[in-house]
Symmetry: none
Subunit: 207 residues, 4 copies
DNA sequence: ACTCACGGGACAGCCCGTTCTT
DNA sequence: AAGAACGGGCTGTCCCGTGAGT
């Protein structure tokens, strides 16, 4: 609804721009910045060089937009349906399960981690974007944990930042392992361990 | 000692070859396979193209050797001193602490994870090497957990594979976060959580 | 006239493409496929690498086009004015004389023979092209001989294929000798012998 | 006999030199000068670079020696048994037949023609060698024709040079065609035509 | 007499980005 | 707004030849 609203407001050029981004995103996500060529994007979009460079003034700008797009999709996929869940702990558990069940945001794995590793040397633009994205994600989990503590669901001695970071680290690490082994098992293992960890920080029921 | 013994037995060519590998390893680890150029290796080693290609018949072969070298270093760094520790649980805790304290095996982060992400598309040679390395690491932790269970240190209902995989995933994920934030905190958080997890699988003391 | 008509219909790119072919043809004809470099073509055309590779996706493709171009020129040169000649025998004699008089289709000798020898090992693309060209040439002479027999100009016991092949072989062989000696004499000798051979297959005049 | 005599007189170094030449000859004959690499020769001989350059001061020198060797073989093959034939005309016919029957002096076709075409541009050393070889061959045939005229076997109005050159040109041209078509037919055709040509210069028997 | 090690240079192909044209 | 044409640069690989060492 919102999307079609935006679409309706777009001129033709802006629409093409969005199409390019959407079609470039999986390429950059799979091959990385250096490994992707404008030729790849040309083939994917059917446009010529001139057509691409009208919308983006450099490969880097396109990559940044593609990353932003991939990010948005990742966030949406991973938080979809979260509002229907009641309680901080169930929400955290839901996030973990959802990550494990629907890991394929885009072909090529998690854009966050990919960019984090890929842009580790050089490319400060992408690096900064990845940082912000991680910080946001971390902040959201952090807030959830805090809410859980405030609500008495989570033990008071729980460190919210520590828990949030651990969940993210374990999930992303598990995703890498799963992609490499071409098997869901590593992610399943991480899921089980994280749910166990959630149990261990659950506040004892007060009577 | 053993090393210098080997070194003494090397002819000049083999020595140069080893030097190239040692000097190429950080390059490939930082920039990845596609992002590294033979020119980079030339500058790092002081050799010319002809000199390099005498020792390696392709860039891929050099990258594979460099990765093997990096791997060996990683394993050594992370398992150094492990023999002096008694008991499976202390050993696991030691491995976790050591990973967090000495994360910088080589400039550019963990070669395992880097290669896993970098060689995710294409490059089956490196991909296979990374897989084997992860499998080995996992196997080692797996064995430790099993020993702990057999020795009564770890609860019988613990899933060895699940625990091993989780430790690896969380540590590697934490390392990525730490590198990106340029701070030790993420790794420290993961460390704390993993030690907590170890506590929760510790078998209750029998009286 | 026809040419300028075609030219007028060409876009700029196609025109450049044709210019490249025309300027690359003598290079490939002189140095062979392996002996010619894209650098040579760059210098001859004034274009840069990027400019060249826009029109041809590989050196081989360019070489093939250049060979086709050279071939066309060779055929035109060698059959020019043939239509004004009456009778099969005079036509054959005309072809032989024309070959000897105007041997320099392109710098570097006959593209047919050059390619046949050059692409003898490897390069199946060029090899195939040369084969087809020879087959066509042979076929044309073959047909002429057959017409001569049918018309009673040439003796009935003449083997058309044998005569056609011999003419081609002797002319091409003579051309090689002439180029090497840097003298027209070898070709002149072949010409005389071939005309003698034509005499010996001329049907006796019926009374 | 002569060979073994030479061999017996050779030191080890000279023997190696001869072995290199013999093993390099087919390579240069097949791939040409520019198309052959010292690496190819290394593999064929089992020697290293340094070993080769001890015996030849450059690739060109080796190629020249290899060509000389190939030449000698060609001449021997094509004139073998010639002494047992009586009469100039039978000798010429024998040469033609022998060329057609045993065209494969070395893998890669006739070294003479190959070098003539290959070294057509540049490489004056090989070019000169090829010229000399052709001149010698031509001279031999020339002498045979002259003897035939003197002996009354061949018509007095025959031009010896013209006939000699034609034979060579047609045979070499036919060889190229045969190699290309991968069939003996072209050579067979040339053979038949040349024998026909010999008939037409045969002096009428005096009664 | 021969191997090992290395330098220096070339070559084909690709890629990013700009400009001209439509 | 998009396509066509082109420039300049870089990369992996190969190749010839030299010199130290054995």
């Amino acid at each position: 609804m919102l999307v079609s609203g935006l679409r309706r407001a777009m001129k033709k050029g802006e629409l093409t721009r969005q199409r390019i981004i959407a079609e470039a995103a999986p390429i950059f996500n799979q091959k990385g910045f250096g490994g992707s060529s404008m030729q790849d994007v040309m083939e994917a979009t059917g446009l010529e060089k001139g057509g691409l460079y009208r919308h983006f003034k450099s490969k880097e700008e396109l990559a940044a937009e593609a990353f932003r797009y991939a990010l948005q999709r990742a966030i949406r996929t991973r938080t979809d349906g979260l509002d229907h869940i009641q309680g901080a702990l169930p929400k955290l558990a839901y996030i973990i399960r959802r990550f494990v069940e629907a890991p394929a945001v885009l072909p090529g794995g998690c854009p966050l981690l990919n960019t984090a590793v890929d842009a580790d040397d050089g490319n400060p633009v992408l690096r900064k974007l990845a940082r912000q994205a991680f910080a946001e994600w971390n902040g959201r989990l952090f807030a959830l944990v805090e809410q859980g503590i405030a609500a008495g669901e989570i033990r008071r001695d729980t460190n919210p930042g520590q828990l949030a970071t651990t969940i993210i680290a374990a999930l992303e690490g598990g995703l890498v392992l799963s992609r490499m082994e071409n098997s869901r098992e590593p992610l399943k293992s991480v899921e089980a361990s994280l749910l166990l960890l959630l149990d261990s920080v659950t506040a004892p029921v007060r009577s």
